[in-house]
Amino acid sequence: MFAEFDLVMPSGLDEALDILAEAGGDGGLDVLPLAGGTNLVVDLRARRVSADKLVGLGRIAALRGIERSNGRVAIGAGTTLSDILRDPGMAEAAPSLVESARVFAGQMVRNTATVAGNVCCGSPAADTVPPLLSLDAELTLTGRDGSRVVPLADFFLGYQKDQRRPDELVTKIAWDAPKPNSANLFYKLARRKGDAITVVGIAVTVAAEAGKCTTARIALGAVAPVVKRAREAEAMLEGEALTPELIEVAARQAVEESSPIDDVRASADYRRHSVHALTRRLLTQAWDPATVGG
């Protein structure tokens, strides 16, 4: 119930990065970045995680803000789920992300939890990750010595393992806004509608030209150690017209690419069933002529 740690609240990014870098240097202190805290504080209080020091990112202005230019969308790491919902351009710039924000936890959590924090918590059930994968999002990782850009698809290395070094912060998430003649959808399946941990979360992107699918993305949440793309299912769709038969085959392939487990929320069997049903449903909805231009 109780955890003790130091909290520093730097107002500049450089200061935050210095603290993280120095902690790595002396080898003794466990220093963790704190964004919205809706996972970390719970874990600290339950003593699932311990830290000597937390670096609160809430005062760093450089991490706030949403930018759009030339079809590129970039959100600062401080962007909350509520920011996503309030931004008037986001419905076009990331329909699946807006849907995931809508069904994300509850209002109080949405007001403080950040998209970057959700990505970095490493949960396979993180709701914003399938949408961001379906949008081919890239993360900017910044340390004291500079920045690097990593595709989200390469970011996760395994269950709760990712490419971020302890002295780095995710500072930006960016993607290309969906093209015309495309659809970008997300569905969260959970045991209840509010404040629920996802049982299966699926995002798809389908872009079409002249009646053929040019780009397909299928991102599967909560059915593997990490959120992952069903790349072979995607490959089956690209270059083809999405007939009900092909959608069925691709949905079954998506199941093959999942590796769910039994847990307190659902069985692996039900999760496989739902990957199939929801992939089929979302691809069918995405292939609507009104959206992809038939």
């Binding site: 119930m1 209840r192 404040d195 069933h273 049903a277 929801l278």
Partner: protein, 770 residues
């Protein structure tokens, strides 16, 4: 009843109106002080150390490191408490104790459930108390346990409660069951399973205890039952008059604060340290800290004629009592009486048993066994309707108990039975049917019920109240009643205001203090209004009678010609002839007319029922009503959305219709969780769903706009003909939802909760069978 005659001429002015409850402003403004908001100087903070094993032997416990930690005032283990037992005396009772209900306060040797307390710590701060608890070194030797009531009753099973793990048994034998089934054209038999659930009140258990200058152990605690001072006193070894329980407004009870929770730990620590001690459970502590709803396995066999008349009912109930007895035998009795449902059945056979296991102990929970029984009997009616080709409501209508009928126990029903009226109203309120949309299928369901109000009649229930009028005309009510959020206190104010002709604001109520408020009995069993309302009514009526007599003398008329209202005494036929209430009170005061009254209201007292046949009187009376719902089921994912949810209940007389609607809406939400999402999972007795992240109560996003319909037969045994609504509001909800889901998808899920996964599996099985 003769007691209801005296109010027959009262023209109701306060009762029956949706007045702003007396507890509302404080709650709305955040001023209300709950038990956890009280602190004292020099106060210690407590922590309970619990067993991580469900079945084990405590080989060793060493608290020396914990005691040595600076800031630790006290660490107690069983070794410090020779012979201390917590008895599950039936709350508020006057002495007769059941057999084999005693529980060790702290584990001496045998751990019987996951979470059983091993040690108590009191320290200067909460953090130190937690650290000290972590420093306690103990060794548990795992022992074979039993985690299923059927296994527990087999020969050779590990014994949790001597001699044979059977902790409760009830029977009904009525008519000729063989003949009944022989006369049946159609026999429907199904087995239903219900789950462990958590009360999930907003306010976890909390209390503050101190020993005063008279050696009285005072405990300010969130409880439904201040009468627990008796078992607490016995557990800590002092006379009953040396323990005082002070309540506070309670943040939800639902039966989960009906048993003793933190009180004995607080009393022991305060006794040992001589300092005030506060103990506040976290949500996770609370999951281990009070008994759960009993999981039931119910096999229900019902015979019908082709025209839909029930010829026979045979019900077998097996309940998991968990590691201690608590109220299991009584929960089981309620289930036994409710088993056939609100229907006329001549041939009935019920066998009910509760067995001890190494699961979490189970005890009181809103609906108290009748809720589980309702899950089975209402599903049976729908399954029978389908098999017989008769409309579901028509089938119920052909079998409903009617006013004047006898219960399955042979006792005549004391009040009106308005099941049909309620069912019609609830169903009609669903309005136009929502259409199906692709894989999303819409279904509707209704459920009716029979739920007792008032406690078992051989427990000889009583309630005392004191009403007094100050010389300035303001009114004081003293009642021990605990207010668990339903407006129990405000209702008493409305009753007193009604009878004395003053406003609700003119009444101040002192409640929930075993030292200064007359003992009102428990806020449980849907008895609060029935019992405490009647006690306040009787007390206020006595004063009213004296005031009317004095006013009549002043006016030169007979008392029957005078009435009290709007803070005046006046002539019924000539309201202009009046005097201010405060002037009348001043006159009475100057002449020594007694302006206060202490009364005891007694429920019907009976002996026990016949144990072999279940015949006799069990409860004072029963409530009847219905709940109807419309749901949408996504047949691809199994997700259920409750679209409409309507409760229609005959409450006898609503004292405050807004408070009644609050109960109906709360019951609808709680029942929805019971039906669809809530389940405490135990693996070999270990709780695997210990927080609100895994234990899923409905959120605001999950519930529709609930509708409440209040019917008033004015036939109940409560004040002004009231019945009760606390438990009835919940009981039919889960079965109505189960029936709606079955209606939507054409197959039934027999085990609660009806999760998306179970729906998908049921549809898959049905498809495979085709």
């Amino acid at each position: 009843m003769t007691e209801t005659e005296s109010w027959a001429n009262v023209n109701l002015r306060q009762v029956g109106r949706p007045l702003a409850r007396s507890d509302a402003p404080g709650k709305a403004a955040g001023r209300t002080r709950y038990a956890g908001d009280y602190t004292m100087p020099n106060m210690l903070h407590a922590k309970v150390l619990r067993s991580p094993e469900a079945s084990a032997r405590l080989r060793r416990i060493d608290v020396s490191k914990a005691r040595a930690l600076p800031g630790v005032a006290c660490v107690l283990t069983a070794a410090d408490l020779p012979d201390r037992k917590a008895s599950t005396d039936i709350p508020g009772q006057t002495g007769k104790k059941k057999l084999a209900t005693d529980q060790q306060v702290l584990v001496k040797e045998r751990v019987r459930y996951h979470g059983e307390p091993l040690a108590l710590v009191a320290a200067e701060t909460q953090t130190i108390a937690e650290r000290a608890a972590e420093l306690i070194d103990f060794e548990l030797e795992p022992l074979p346990g039993v985690y299923d009531p059927f296994e527990a009753m087999k020969p050779g099973a590990p014994i949790v409660t001597a001699p044979d793990n059977v902790v409760g048994q009830h029977k009904v034998r009525k008519g000729d069951i063989a003949k009944g089934f022989a006369e049946a054209d159609e026999i429907i038999e199904n087995t239903f399973r219900t789950q462990f659930i958590e009360h999930a009140f907003l306010e976890p258990e909390v209390g503050l205890a101190w020993v005063d200058e008279n050696d009285v152990i005072n405990i300010r605690v969130a409880t439904q039952v201040i009468e627990h001072f008796r078992p607490i006193a016995e557990a800590v070894g002092v006379p009953h008059n040396k323990v005082r329980i002070l309540g506070a407004l309670v943040g939800g009870g639902f039966g989960g604060k009906e048993d003793v929770t933190v009180e004995i730990y607080l009393a022991l620590l305060a006794q040992a340290t001589g300092r005030p001690v506060r103990l506040a459970y976290t949500r996770e502590d609370s999951m281990f800290g009070h008994g759960k709803r009993h999981p039931f396995v119910i096999t229900h066999r019902t015979g019908f004629t082709n025209d839909g008349r029930i010829t026979a009912v045979k019900v077998t109930i097996t309940a998991d009592s968990g590691a201690y007895v608590f109220l299991s035998p009584y929960v089981l009795l309620y289930a036994t009486v409710a088993a056939p449902g609100p229907y006329r059945v001549d041939n009935v056979h019920v066998d009910a048993v509760a067995a001890a296991t190494n699961n979490m102990f189970t005890s009181a929970f809103r609906g108290f066994g009748a809720a589980q029984a309702c899950v089975a009997h209402e599903a049976q009616m729908d399954e029978a309707a389908k098999a017989l080709g008769i409309d579901r409501m028509e089938l119920r209508r052909r079998n409903f108990l009617r006013t004047g009928d006898k219960l399955v126990t042979g006792h005549p029903i004391e009040s009106a039975v308005w099941s049909d009226e309620c069912m019609i109203k609830a169903w009609e309120a669903l309005g136009e049917r929502t259409p199906d949309a692709g894989p999303v299928k819409v279904g509707r369901g209704v459920a009716t019920y029979q739920q007792s109000y008032g406690r078992i009649t051989w427990l000889h229930d009583t309630s005392e109240a004191w009403v007094g009028v100050e010389v300035d005309g303001s009114v004081v009510v003293r009642s021990g009643v605990t207010d668990i959020g339903a407006g129990q206190v405000s209702a008493l104010g409305q009753i007193a205001a009604e009878l004395l002709g003053v406003g609700l604001d003119d009444v101040t109520i002192y409640n929930s203090d075993s030292a200064v408020t007359p003992l009102a009995g428990t806020t449980t069993a849907t008895r609060g209004l029935y019992m405490t309302g009647n006690a306040v009514r009787l007390a206020a009526e006595a004063i009213r009678g004296r005031f009317l007599a004095r006013a009549a003398r002043e006016f030169g008329v007979e008392p029957g010609e005078v009435d009290l209202a709007e803070s005046k005494a006046f002539l019924v036929d000539r309201p202009d002839t009046s005097m201010a209430f405060k002037d009348l009170v001043a006159l009475c005061a100057s002449e020594g007319v007694h302006r206060s009254e202490l009364v005891m209201f007694r429920a019907p007292f009976t002996g026990q029922i016949d144990p072999e046949t279940g015949q006799g009187r069990v409860h004072p009376d029963y409530a009847y009503g219905a709940h109807a719902v419309e749901v949408a089921v996504d047949t691809e994912t199994g997700e259920v959305t409750v679209l409409k949810s309507v409760g229609a209940h005959d409450v006898g007389q609503a004292i405050n219709p807004d408070a009644v609607a609050g109960q109906i809406e709360g019951g609808a939400a709680m029942g929805q969780g019971y039906a669809l999402s809530e389940e405490l999972c135990y693996e070999e007795g270990r709780l695997t769903t210990p927080s609100f992240s895994e234990y899923l109560i409905p959120t605001a996003m999950d519930v529709p706009r609930y509708q409440s319909i209040i019917l008033e037969s004015r036939s109940g045994l409560g004040p002004f003909g009231a019945k009760g609504i606390g438990e009835p509001a919940l009981t039919p909800v889960a079965p109505a939802i189960a029936n709606a889901v079955a209606d939507a998808i054409g197959v039934r899920v027999f085990d609660l909760p009806i999760t998306p996964e179970k729906i998908v599996m049921a549809l898959r099985r049905a498809e495979a069978a085709e």
